[in-house]
């Protein structure tokens, strides 16, 4: 009894001290609530550089869209829409013509011209100190021609269909401001002159970026005169900032908070299936991987994962519905494709593999493994939504059909290096893209440094038919034809179980009541696409 009283009094004392110190600070000013013309957004990842050509990572690209436009913009559904180019068309199989928007001005008042486009397309290759350059999207261009001040032609060495998509990734900077600018000049704002809906105000690295509306913007005028992008990488802290009213909206809502927020009338949740597909990569080389053995740990004479029946058995053994509903807490949908629904090249005809443990066992027996074998499933533990739990769930499903599966997860910084080195027999990977042919080329194209294909093909899958179809897709400037080839290639690769698709993640935004946001396929958060309700 006495003890309880002491504890109670101690807690009282503690709360008292806290409340007092808090009250003294709070009393000083009344909480100045944000006016309607301001918008504060809590971002989930740090913007590492304001230079739009320095590093191709999502937070940097999403920020750059506020200040800059690309020739081609991307709408919330991942479709290409006019940006600084009003239209584009192939004038020959190897030449694309872009008509530029007239009357557009940079933030410093200088007019936008074809010179700025040429300069911006040349710039990524000059930034030799970039660890993630944008040259992947300019490398196909062999010649640039200014036909007249508002028309340019880009020539590729061979027919190349995805050039407009590539152009959506390269932001157009002002030649005048950026010509001799370093990355530091962009961070200080001196060279940060674009044509986009917002102008730069200030940048405190790792903390916040402040923007002001560009009243001369050529496109729809944003609703918010001032925007503050706050960097709050910790998900719980981001949630707290929203709940406390420090920010008006957040991206990357933690999955276990979604249901609670949806039930709260003070907030609004927007979500959709994002472009990120999560799948398993199986090593299909001739030699059995080190971590694929028989059940007592002895090496196997041949690689079971090379056998299509075994790959099919693994696919049938996984209950994707349970994975999406339980492990992903309903924040995902089962996947049948290598790209998400709505992405260019998504094949409607592919159906989600049905959960069929009996069938899986039969296939394993037919392949010569009636008692199964042992493998380790590897995955990152800080990259995708609930990634470690997903790997654990899959391992349990495999154990049920007789494959002795163990789990090994690690931080991304270790994971990608090891996976690339071919250390893993079974590995989890997520991929977000706006084009199926891109994904196929990189993920299941025959690895070859000369062609540049298969740079993420950890499983070393190789099928000449897939290669041919993807090459035809990439070479088609006719977009309908390109999509048909991409779908055919996906169908062949997935029938082969080149990878085992698991699910497509949801992307989720939460905001205070009175705001709305059209959720984006590409997961980007754009302040200018928030609107009052």
């Amino acid at each position: 009894m006495h003890r309880f009283r002491t504890l109670f009094l101690s807690l009282l004392l503690l709360t008292g001290t806290l409340a007092f110190s808090a009250a003294t600070a709070a009393a000083a000013t009344a909480a100045a609530s944000a006016g309607t013309a301001d918008l504060k957004i809590g971002l989930a990842a740090d913007v590492s550089s304001l230079d739009p050509h320095y590093l191709n990572i999502a937070p940097n690209v999403a920020f750059a869209a506020h200040i800059f436009d690309a020739l081609v913009n991307v709408d919330p559904d991942g479709k290409l829409i006019p940006g600084l180019a009003t239209s584009w068309r192939p004038v020959s199989p190897t030449t694309w013509e872009f008509k530029l928007r007239r009357g557009v001005k940079f933030h410093d008042g200088t007019p936008f011209t074809a010179q700025d486009v040429i300069f911006s397309l040349d710039r990524p290759a000059t930034l030799t100190n970039s660890p993630g350059p944008f040259t992947s999207y300019t490398r196909m261009i062999v010649a640039k021609q200014i036909v007249d001040p508002y028309t340019i032609r880009l020539t590729t060495a061979r027919p190349y269909g995805p050039l407009p998509l590539d152009m959506s990734t390269i932001y157009i900077v002002s030649k005048k401001a950026a010509e001799h600018a370093t990355t530091e000049d962009f961070d200080s704002g001196r060279a940060l002159i674009g044509t986009g809906p917002y102008k730069f105000v200030s940048f405190r690295r790792g903390d916040r970026i402040e923007l002001a509306r560009n009243d001369d913007y050529w496109g729809p005028k944003p609703d918010w005169a001032r925007v503050t992008l706050r960097i709050i990488t910790n998900p719980a802290a981001r949630m707290a900032a929203l709940l406390a009213g420090d920010v008006d909206a957040i991206e990357g809502v933690p999955p276990d908070d979604v249901a609670r927020l949806k039930a709260n009338p003070k907030f609004r949740v927007e979500q959709r299936v994002s472009w990120r597909t999560i799948f398993l990569v199986l090593d299909q080389s001739a030699q059995a991987p080190r971590d694929v053995t028989d059940k007592s740990g002895r090496p196997l004479p041949r690689n079971p994962l090379r056998d299509l029946r075994v790959r099919e058995a693994i696919s049938k053994a996984i209950d994707r519905r349970a994975l999406a509903e339980r492990t992903m807490e309903g924040q995902a949908v089962p996947a049948a494709n290598i790209v998400a629904p709505g992405v260019f090249g998504y094949d409607q005809d592919l159906k989600v593999e049905a959960y069929d443990p009996a069938g899986a066992k039969k296939l394993l027996a037919a392949a010569g493994y009636p008692d199964g074998f042992a493998l380790t499933i590897h995955g990152p533990n800080n990259r995708y939504v609930n990634d470690a739990q997903v790997v654990q769930t899959v391992a349990q499903f495999l154990n049920r059909v007789g494959i002795k599966a163990t789990v090994d997860t690690m931080p991304l910084s270790v994971y990608f290096g090891k996976a690339r080195a071919g250390d893993f027999g079974v590995a989890l990977l997520g991929w977000g893209t706006l084009a199926g042919d891109f994904a196929l080329r990189t993920l299941v194209g025959t690895p070859d440094a000369k062609t540049g294909w298969g740079s993420w093909n950890w499983g070393k899958y190789s099928n000449p038919q897939v290669y041919k179809l993807v090459a035809q897709a990439l070479g088609s400037v006719d977009q309908a034809q390109r999509e048909t080839y991409a779908e055919q290639a996906a169908a062949v690769a997935l029938k082969d179980e080149a990878v085992i698709p698991l699910h497509d993640q949801y992307a989720t935004w939460a905001m205070r009541r009175g705001l709305r946001y059209t959720p984006r396929l590409d997961e980007f958060t754009f302040a200018f696409q928030f609107h009052p309700q």
């Binding site: 004392l13 600070a25 100190n129 660890p131 944008f134 992947s136 990355t183 690295r205 090891k418 690895p447």
Partner: protein, 325 residues
Amino acid sequence: MPAFILRRLMQSVVVLFAMSLLVFAGMYAVGNPIDILLSPDATQMERAHVIAAFGLDQPLWRQYLLFVWHALHGDLGRSFAFGTSAMGLIAERFPATMELAVAAMLMAIVLGIPLGLLAGLKPNGLVGRSIMTVSILGFSLPTFWVGMMLIMLFAVQLGWLPASGRGATVPLFGVPVSFLTVDGLKHLLLPAFNLALFSIAMVIRLTRAGAQEALLQDYVRYARAKGLRWRRIVGVHVLKNILIPVVTVVALEFGSTVAFSVVTESVFAWPGMGKLIIDSIRVLDRPVIVAYLMLIVTLFVLVNLAADIAYSLLDPRVRLAEARG
């Protein structure tokens, strides 16, 4: 004293070398930042090109020697992810962390010493027992959890204080500080208190133990016999004698407060060095990690040195030349 200080500084140079070598070898073993930062659509040739541009294809010893060569010229390299000088990045974040750590240590001293004395003087009273019980909480509750609870209570439920971030800053001798603005203070209060919790508890316990021990000493009895006022006995004689261990702990705690502010900084989205280092480890941004660790080592060395000097001022019997290590 100068010889002592010089020897200390020499030792720290050796530590710095050993540390940089360890970090270098460790990062080399873990992997390659390019694998994380490279565009997904990059080809194998582009990857090889970028790796060569950063010298990451060189053998480890050559990379290290190159680093030492540049470091001796005052250049700790450019951050891979941020594309700017690693030292500059840390300098940018340093004031925020120092501000937080200093505020936390001030809280630890201002709250810890009086509460500890109170508990030491009245060990069996209700107040003394309550203080000790609360201090157990300060030790045992995880910082992360307490931080979230503070936010839930003061920011979400009561709405008195902002949930996270750093408030408005004003330059003080060219360094942006936030404690001079009301908005800045409001932002500072919760994270500083959260960071201070452990130190407050530690200081309370040390002060209490010291006070109890000192009260039994002869000099306290003589002072009482002499008819000195109680206030003077405690405030001058007892306090002075128990401060030595407190100073040691505060000094050591200060170093770890800076080094371990990581948790508080991420809970409160405080843009300090802790957040920078976590982000940098995530992408294996070696120049930033090396520069940060070198700074922390230097800081520890300096703080320990300051503590040694403080001893000699508090207690003239301590001679610096004798205090080894």
